[in-house]
């Protein structure tokens, strides 16, 4: 079809566009699109009215709110403190740095259930951290706060590992230039450094957020799983499946899918905009 696709037929120094695009689409289809379209397919079977009834069920809405709200809060916290961790790792050389650097990846490697159990033990009212906090009247385990703690744990490496390489590329001279021009340290950080990091921070946020929305293993131990209060959507799906209520499970899954996709799309376009505006990449 040389006539139909003249643009793709032009000789190029990087050939193989057709082949690689074909492979990409096939691969994405097998790995991502077909399984996910299964969800949409099953939902379509339900009929619109039935789907709406299941999706707007009060318990479902509460679970979705907990899931997305906690994931958002955790990702936001991770952006702030993850950037700080990355800064320390990039900027300073100190004994034990390689160890600290490696420790950042631990949440990637650790089975999430292990993390969940460990965090629960720590933050439970009789735990090392939960005890003193409980004395102050702050309850963490078995509340949405506990969910945020677990999600901060699993999401941290996403932010650190996305921001770190970009930070490494910022030349020291940029900061020195800012200082010679009379800018205070705070001004240098917020006006000069942060803008050039913003695309990477957004990517890190998106990844941590996405991971948080889908997280199951580490959350169910610490959450307490009280319906309407600290029950996350993925858990509700599992509960529905165990009740053989496949229709409800699919409906929740479809809603999660739609919201996640919309949010990631929004973050990606925001990121593209900020990349155009602030450069770096």
């Amino acid at each position: 079809m040389a006539l139909a696709l003249p643009a793709l037929r032009r000789p190029s120094v990087i050939p193989g566009f057709g082949l690689t695009l074909g492979f990409t689409i096939l691969y994405l289809s097998l790995v991502v699109l077909i399984p996910l379209s299964g969800v949409v397919w099953r939902t379509a079977d339900l009929g619109w009215a039935e789907f709406l009834r299941l999706a707007t069920d009060e318990r479902t809405l509460a679970a979705l709110k907990v899931s997305f709200g906690c994931a958002f809060a955790a990702a936001a916290l991770n952006v702030v403190f993850g950037a700080l961790v990355a800064w320390v790792l990039v900027r300073y050389r100190f004994p034990g740095r390689p160890l600290l650097d490696a420790a950042v990846d631990l949440p990637f490697a650790l089975p999430t259930a292990v993390a969940g159990i460990a965090l629960t033990a720590l933050y439970a009212p009789d735990g090392w951290i939960g005890g003193p906090l409980a004395a102050l009247g702050l309850k963490i385990a078995w509340t949405p706060l506990g969910i945020v703690v677990a999600l901060v744990f699993v999401g941290l490496p996403f932010v650190v590992r996305t921001v770190q390489p970009v930070m490494e590329e910022i030349e020291r001279e940029i900061e020195e230039a800012s200082a010679t021009l009379g800018a205070s340290r705070a001004r240098t950080v917020f006006r000069v450094l942060a803008p050039s990091l913003s695309p990477a921070l957004l990517t890190g946020f998106a990844l941590a957020f996405a991971r948080g929305v889908g997280e199951y293993g580490s959350v169910i131990f610490i959450a307490g799983n009280l319906p309407y209060r600290s029950e996350i959507a993925p858990l509700l799906i599992v509960i529905r499946l165990e009740e053989f209520n496949y229709a409800a499970a699919t409906a929740i899954a479809a809603v999660m899918l739609a919201i996640s996709f919309a949010m990631l799309l929004a973050i990606n376009s925001l990121q593209a905009w900020s990349r155009r505006r602030y450069g770096h990449g």
Partner: protein, 360 residues
């Protein structure tokens, strides 16, 4: 603003980067710090800026002890080799950055900042590019933006670190001439670092030659070129050939053979002469060497010669018309040369002062 450096020394991890340095730069002067890499020239510049803190000594701006001031308070305009522009800001925002970073009480109004930034962009001949971002500019344009940004804070001293190092030859030449004009117009006390001695000679009022953390000589370009204070300066500034000689009874010997040159002192020394300071041809007498090659340099032919069994290499200039096949023997005699005492008195030859200027 006069800048005085008094007994300033700096170590990096106990490795001395600068030995005690004294240097005064007059108000309105354009001074060049020149030397090979590792000579400490950039360290000295960064010390003046406050980007490094001296181990000992002090730096005075006029009568004020600047070494007590932070970088921010020192008010120096610093131009980096790789520009260090803020790439997320427009050209105008870059130039205005220094003014908007001032404490609220001293900060001009937004419109005034923009007006001053525009004025400076006109000064560096970049009017009309206010809305561009740094990645959209050429290297030469970026460097001029960096300069405008440094000038915006009304600096007491303007410091430039290898300002033309990353630019190609033509732009470099143009920008060099342009910087000289700009300096003559604005009259800022300016110090720039370069490893290019030609650039230093062409541009500066005063050339400060540095080597291994010490100042070898600080003088006018003519002085540095015609009367290098040390063997190192002679070798580093301009082209020159170097021969190890011995002076006995007022006569200069090379490898125990008389050269026909006379000097009024005794002992081993290094003899320096420049390629254009040689009389070449039959009857020139004194020295002779085997031609090993030659190349054309602008209006002259520079010939490489090998002398004696030790194959010492020297270079002399010939008129273009005179051809010289490799393998022929060529007689020559330096018409002007300088002798530097060779490693005696516990000092390396490069560090010893010149004792003798002789015309043969």
């Amino acid at each position: 603003m006069e800048v005085r450096i008094e007994a300033v020394a700096k170590d990096f991890d106990r490795h001395p980067a600068l030995h005690e340095i004294d240097l005064a730069i007059a108000s309105g002067e354009l001074a060049a710090l020149v030397g090979p890499s590792g000579s400490g020239k950039t360290t000295l510049l960064r010390l003046i800026a406050g980007l490094e803190t001296p181990g000992r000594g002090r730096i005075l701006f006029g009568e004020e002890d600047a070494s007590r001031l932070s970088v921010q308070a020192r008010r120096v305009g610093f131009v980096f080799q790789h520009y260090a522009l803020f790439r997320h800001m427009t050209v105008l925002e870059n130039v205005g950055f220094g003014l908007s970073a001032r404490p609220r009480a001293l900060r001009p109004a937004r419109a005034e900042i923009d007006r001053r930034a525009r004025e400076l962009l006109e000064l560096v001949q970049l009017g009309g590019l206010e809305k561009r971002y740094p990645p959209q500019l050429s290297g030469g344009q970026r460097q001029r933006v960096a300069l405008a940004r440094a000038l915006a804070i009304e600096p007491r001293v303007l410091l430039l670190d290898e300002p033309f190092g990353a630019l190609d030859a033509q732009v470099r030449r143009d920008l060099r001439r342009w910087l000289r004009e700009l300096h003559d117009r604005t009259g800022h006390t300016t110090v720039f670092v370069t490893h290019d001695q030609e650039e230093a000679l062409e541009l500066a009022d005063r050339v400060v030659v540095m080597s291994q953390g010490r100042i070898e000589q600080a003088a006018t370009p003519d002085e540095v070129y015609d009367r290098p204070a040390t063997a190192f300066v002679h070798g580093f500034i301009g082209e020159s050939s170097r021969l190890p000689v011995r002076v006995e009874g007022g006569e200069v010997f090379l490898d125990d053979r008389p050269t026909g040159l006379r000097a009024d002192w005794e002992g081993p020394a290094e003899l320096f002469f420049r390629p254009h300071q040689a009389l070449v041809g039959d009857g020139a007498g004194g020295l002779a060497g085997m031609v090993t090659g030659g190349r054309r340099i602008a209006g002259v032919r520079r010939v490489e010669l090998e002398l004696g069994a030790a194959h010492r290499r020297v270079e002399v200039d010939l008129p273009l018309a005179q051809s010289c096949a490799p393998g022929t023997l060529l007689a020559f005699r330096p018409t002007a040369f300088r002798l530097y005492p060779l490693a005696g008195e516990g000092r390396p030859a490069d560090r010893a002062p010149a004792r003798q200027l002789a015309h043969g």
